[in-house]
Structure formats: structure tokens, C-alpha cells
């Protein structure tokens, strides 16, 4: 079977308009998390996020972020100079539903009557008169992939993976599979998340999943939840030899709970073991952890990493970029994947921002403060989702 190679990467985050800018800021230990500026969050249980301080001409913020990141990856792969056969280009994007501006949503809800109960009849009459507000381009998860396909002239497979926090990583898995099997010669893949909005802040806040302190501190004993972030990470994969190879893939379901990982970490452990086995490895030099900064998830992931790497653990380094970028939901796995590729290509192992007092339950060879440099032949990235879906990828130099 053919190999799937990484030929280019791109990212837009609160720390940079490109992956290079982002990487340099991450390497220096910078953190993007700040009080929410895009709307009045003063009444919410969590009032901090990692926001991108830019407006975009695209109607949909997700699409705008994805386009910028994809253009960077496309150019990095040299495809702007040598465009591939459109019929051989696939697009695989991790995205969740977008959201209408809350003011629009509120207006629509008010169309259903002034009280707390919905008057369906009135809603129908009034909401349809506001039909332009129900613009599917703002809501459908599929518009991002469709727009990217149009931008790059892709006429091969186009798929949208909606797997919550694991969407971006799972999209790269699907792209890798398509390249390996010759379904396409070139695959544009990645994830995008633009979820810093009142409804998501309300929803995750209700669950108690967000940090009340406004700090993202993966694996730290003071961690108290995750912080929302936004961004996009895109890669170009092909069968042509590139900078790193997708060597292993592992996907599992916890089949345990909607909100919590299996307490024994068995689901994530199986995903890591499957990915390592496919890569033919028993150890890796770097782990880019899911590391969300929630008390339960981090402890269980740390335990699973320890079990997966066993005696080789001390020779590896573990970090999570969510300390600096927050949790970008559908983009998270793709950004983590790009960080893992960076480690393999340049030997830059990014630190975990916000981690100062490692929790004993999260004992791992952490990278704190600033990035470190070392030879990295292999890196593993974890991406886990609400609902219990686990996705692990291993990338190697060869």
C-alpha cells in the first residue's frame, strides 16, 4: 500500500496568521488566553477564551479561518506552482455546525412568542419572514469543505467529519486512508473551530467543563476545566514523499459516557496501541496530548500514555498546545497533528503553557516553559471527543 506523506501545513490561531507565526509564539511559551472581547461575557461562569482578533470578509468565520490555513498549506506543498489534477484532489474537513449570531437566534426565538414557551405556529409565521437570517452557509458543517473544494478546484472526494473535539484528527485519518488507497493523489485535510460564542459558552459552562479561573493548565494540579479557543489547522497529504509520514492510526470508542472518558482509560489506550502497532513502534519521541485541562480527562489520558509507552516513557516528551491556544474543538486534533509534524521536521518540541505544578496523577515527562530541541523520529498525537470517540495518529520522519 502507498504511504501518506505530509507535504504542507498551515494554521490560523490567536497566536499567528500562519503556522510559522503560531509555532514561534508557542515555542516562546506565549499564551493566547484572555478575557473574552467579542461579546459581553461578564455573566458567564467562564469569561476567558483564546480569540482571533480579526474580522473576515467571508460570511462564515469557520470558512474564513479554514481558507487562510488551507492556502498556507497548499502553498507550502508547492501546489500553487504545480496544481494537481482536480479529479485527483480530495478534501476532508473536520467541522461542527456553525452558529447564527446570538442576536439573530434571539430574534428567531422571539418570533416564537414573548414567553419561555415556544409558540410553534407563531414561530413558523414569523421565522419564515426572517428567512434570510436562516442562512445555511452560517450553520451547515459541510459549507467549509464545499468552499475549500471550490477554492482549490477539487473534484475528488469531499467529506465533512463531525466528530466533536476529534473532528480534525479524524478528517486527517480519512484523508490518509484515501491517499494510501489511491482514491486521490492529493488530499487537503484538517479542522476548524470558531466556537467562542454565547451559546457554546453557555452549553459547556452548564456542564461545568469550562475553567472558572479562566486558565488552561493541562496536567497541572490547579486545572479546573478547559478554555474555548478558535482556529484552523490544515495539511496537504499525498503519496509524494514529504516532510513526515502518517505511519499509524488508531480509532476507538469508549462506549462509556457522553461527558466523561472511561475511568480506566481503556478506550484511549487502545487507540494509542493501535496507532503504535500500525507504525511498527513501541515508543515515540514526542506525544502531543489531547490535554484539555479538565481534571478527569488529563488524569486519565496521562495514565493511558504511561501504559501505552511503558518503560520507554522517560525517553519521550509530552505536551499539549491547549495550554496556549485553548480548546479549538473541531480544529484541535488538526492543530495537535501539525505540532507533532513540526516536532518531527524541526525537532522543536512545544511546551505546555500554563503548566507549572504538575499533578502527581498526571506524572509524565512534560515540556514546560519554552520549547526544547531534540532529534525526533516519531511523534504521536491524541484527540478525544465528547461522546467517547478517540483518535490517535503517529507521524514519523521515515
Amino acid at each position: 500500500m502507498r504511504a501518506a506523506w505530509v507535504n504542507g501545513t498551515g494554521a490560523v490561531t490567536p497566536l499567528g496568521r500562519t503556522w510559522r507565526e503560531t509555532c514561534d509564539a508557542l515555542a516562546a511559551g506565549r499564551c493566547a488566553i484572555a478575557p473574552i472581547a467579542s461579546f459581553d461575557a461578564s455573566g458567564f461562569p467562564s469569561r476567558h477564551a483564546a480569540e482571533i482578533d480579526r474580522d473576515f470578509s467571508e460570511t462564515d468565520r469557520r470558512t474564513a479561518l479554514a481558507l487562510d490555513a488551507a492556502r498556507e498549506a497548499w502553498a507550502a506543498a508547492g501546489l500553487d506552482r504545480q496544481p494537481p489534477d482536480p479529479l485527483q484532489v480530495g478534501v476532508f474537513i473536520g467541522a461542527e455546525s456553525g452558529r447564527l449570531p446570538f442576536s439573530t437566534l434571539a430574534a428567531l426565538a422571539r418570533a416564537g412568542g414573548p414567553g419561555p414557551a415556544l409558540d410553534h405556529g407563531r414561530f413558523s409565521r414569523e421565522a419564515e419572514s426572517r428567512a434570510r437570517d436562516l442562512d445555511s452557509r452560517l450553520v451547515s458543517p459541510a459549507v467549509v469543505a464545499a468552499r475549500l473544494a471550490r477554492e482549490f478546484g477539487a473534484r475528488g472526494s469531499v467529506a465533512t467529519v463531525s466528530l466533536a473535539c476529534a473532528s480534525g484528527a479524524a478528517a486527517i485519518v480519512e484523508a490518509s486512508r484515501a491517499v494510501r488507497q489511491g482514491e486521490c493523489e492529493v488530499a487537503l485535510a484538517g479542522g476548524v473551530g470558531a466556537d467562542v460564542d454565547p451559546l457554546m459558552l453557555a452549553g459547556f459552562g452548564l456542564l461545568g467543563a469550562l475553567s472558572a479561573s479562566g486558565m488552561s493548565r493541562p496536567f497541572d494540579r490547579r486545572r479546573d476545566g478547559f478554555v474555548l479557543g478558535e482556529g484552523a489547522g490544515m495539511v496537504v497529504l499525498s503519496c509524494k514523499r514529504g516532510v513526515a509520514r502518517v505511519a499509524g492510526i488508531g480509532r476507538t470508542l469508549d462506549a462509556w459516557s457522553l461527558t466523561a472518558p472511561a475511568p480506566d482509560g481503556s478506550g484511549s489506550l487502545r487507540a494509542m496501541r493501535l496507532a503504535l502497532a500500525e507504525a511498527g513502534l513501541e515508543s515515540v519521541d514526542v506525544v502531543q496530548a489531547h490535554g484539555t485541562s479538565t481534571p478527569l480527562n488529563d488524569a486519565i489520558e496521562a495514565r493511558a500514555i504511561r501504559e501505552a509507552l511503558g518503560e520507554s516513557l522517560p525517553s519521550s516528551h509530552v505536551s499539549s498546545i491547549k495550554g496556549a491556544l485553548g480548546h479549538t474543538i473541531a480544529a484541535a486534533g488538526a492543530l495537535g497533528f501539525i505540532a507533532a509534524v513540526e516536532a518531527v521536521v524541526t525537532g522543536t518540541v512545544l511546551p505546555t503553557a500554563g503548566l507549572a505544578e504538575p499533578d502527581r496523577d498526571c506524572a509524565l515527562p512534560h515540556v514546560v516553559g519554552r520549547a526544547l530541541s531534540r532529534r525526533v523520529d516519531s511523534a504521536m498525537v491524541n484527540s478525544f471527543a465528547f461522546g467517547g470517540a478517540n483518535c490517535t495518529l503517529v507521524v514519523t520522519r521515515e
Binding site: A127, S162, T252
Partner: protein
Amino acid sequence: MMSAPVAIVGAGAVSAFGIGWRGLGEAVAAGHLQPRESVLLRESHPGTFASEVSEIPAALDAGNARARKLMSRAARLAAIAMREALVDAGFAERREEIGAWMGVGASGIAMEDVPAIVSASFVDGGLSLHRLGDQGLMACNPLFTFQTLNNFSLCHGAILEGLGGPNAAFFSRGSGTAVALAEALHALREGDCDRAIAGGADTALHPVTWAELRREGFSAQGLVPGEGAAVLALARGTSSRALGLLESCTAIAGAQAGTTPVSRDLELLPQRADLVVIAPWGAPARAWLGDVAVTRYAGAAIVDVSLRLGDSLAATPALAWVAALDLLRPGERAVVLTLDVDGDLTAAVFRKESP
């Protein structure tokens, strides 16, 4: 190198026909199912004719009452279809190894929650985000976020049934469901798993979804809203209990919403069929797809499932598959063609070996 065969060893479905897939194809072909006035849309869109799932008997429902409170309607239908498919296939053992791929829609959030949040967020006649973050949060189902996460149409069922294998949820208004089946087929052939389920679940009978489809002009062109879920249970290799073999599944991207694929894409369609099951979203798609079926598959029996089951977005291809499975006879080959509201064409090919 020859690809390993993949057998269809079970199926499950929930539709206007009821719970179960056996007899669905026959009922559709015989014209026994007729769209009726929708109960779900009775208040918001009275007089809408739809293909709607009737009240589900408690004994056959998904999970318990507490679990169902966390489910969108699509997730609930998916969980029922997944359970039926697993039972039908006899997949009782080692469920942690079973893969699961689903096409899922975005018709999640319960309409009742939004005005409750909004109503609690008004101060002096104006919307206050400060108030939303405080009082608004207390006014709604604390788990309403989970109704908005599309992958939960996969995960609820997986949790209830103990599925732990490779997986993915693809957003779908039709073609994403074919991608899910194609991924399951690849995973089985590559050996990622030996058994898997694949299907789709959705409802077009959510007030916002239906309002959106109306706004986009689909209802005026004959789209009848439907809902349901259907799942195939698949196993690598041949099996004495196989209901058929899954030969291929392809999704071909359309040019833009509501249009049809360009003619060269038709070269990707399979060549021969004894049975052609089509699922076009409405009149223009029906004319186009019907023409393709008649000219490309001369002599084949043609069954249009959408005339009876309407268009249930992510569930449409999967319901068409199980209808085809019900109609497929030994020695026959079936091609299932769907054309969705995004202009995407899907083609799945099943074969049933002679005894």
C-alpha cells in the same frame, strides 16, 4: 490484488414503515406507504405532508427515559436502528471490536430550549448577554449542547450497545452517509476491524430544518420531508448468513445545491443491475435520476423509495439501502442511487449470490 469480500449480515431501520427493515422494500414497491399530515410539524407548519415515524412502543425505544432526554430525535432513531442491526446480525460478542460509521445531520437542538434561554435573558425589553450567562443558563436543559453535537447520533447508540471499534461520524444531507458506508467498507477490507455497522439517521421534520428547506425552495419542487434511520451490519469475508455482498459505495460531489452532477460523473456509476433503487430529493432530481436509471440500466426493475419515504437527509441513502436489501433476490445485483439536496450523487452496489 482482489479485495476481500464484505458481507451484509444484518440490518436495522426505523421509518414511517415502523421499526424493522424486512418488508420495507416490498411495502415501498407496492405503494403501501403514503405520506401523511405530519404530527411533528402540526403546530409550526400545519398541513405538511411527511413520511414520519409513528409513536415508538416503549419496549422498542432507545435506552431509558433518562438517556432519551439527552438525545436528539435523530440520535434516538439511530440508537434503535443500531440495536436492531446488531441483533439481526447476531453481533453479540466482542462488541468493543465492532466499527461504527454514521452519516449524521444537524437537526439537533430541541426548539423548546431556545426561547427558554432567550426569555430568561431579556432585561427591560432588550437582550442582555450578561443575563444570558447567568439566568439564561439556568433556564434550559443543562445538556442541550449535546443535542447540537452531530456525532452524538453515533455516540448515543455506541454507548448503549457497547461498540468500541474504529469509527467516524460524517455530516450528511445525503452523500455523507454514503461516505460513511464507503469508509466502513475500506476499514473492513483493510482489516481495521472484522465487523462494523454503517448507516445514517436524521429528521427533516425539525421546524428549523423544514423552514430552511422551504426557504431554499426544495418544498416547492416536491421535496416531501421524512425521517428515519437505517444501519447495515457488515462482516469481512463471506458468510452463510449473508443477506448480500457489498460491492462498492461511492459519493460523487455535485456542482452546487440543488443541481445535478455533470455527465462525466456518470462514468463512475456501476455498469449492470437487475434492480435499481433510487432516492431523489424531489421532482427535478427524480426526473434526472429516473432518466439515468432507465437509460443506463435498461430492463432492470426500478423502485423510487422517496415517493413513499420522502427525503430524510442523512437517513435517505441508508433507508434506500435496506429497501434494496429487502427486494434483492438470489443471483441479482442491485444499484442504489441517491441524489441529495446538495446535488451530490451516491451509488451503492449490492449483490446476492445464488444458493
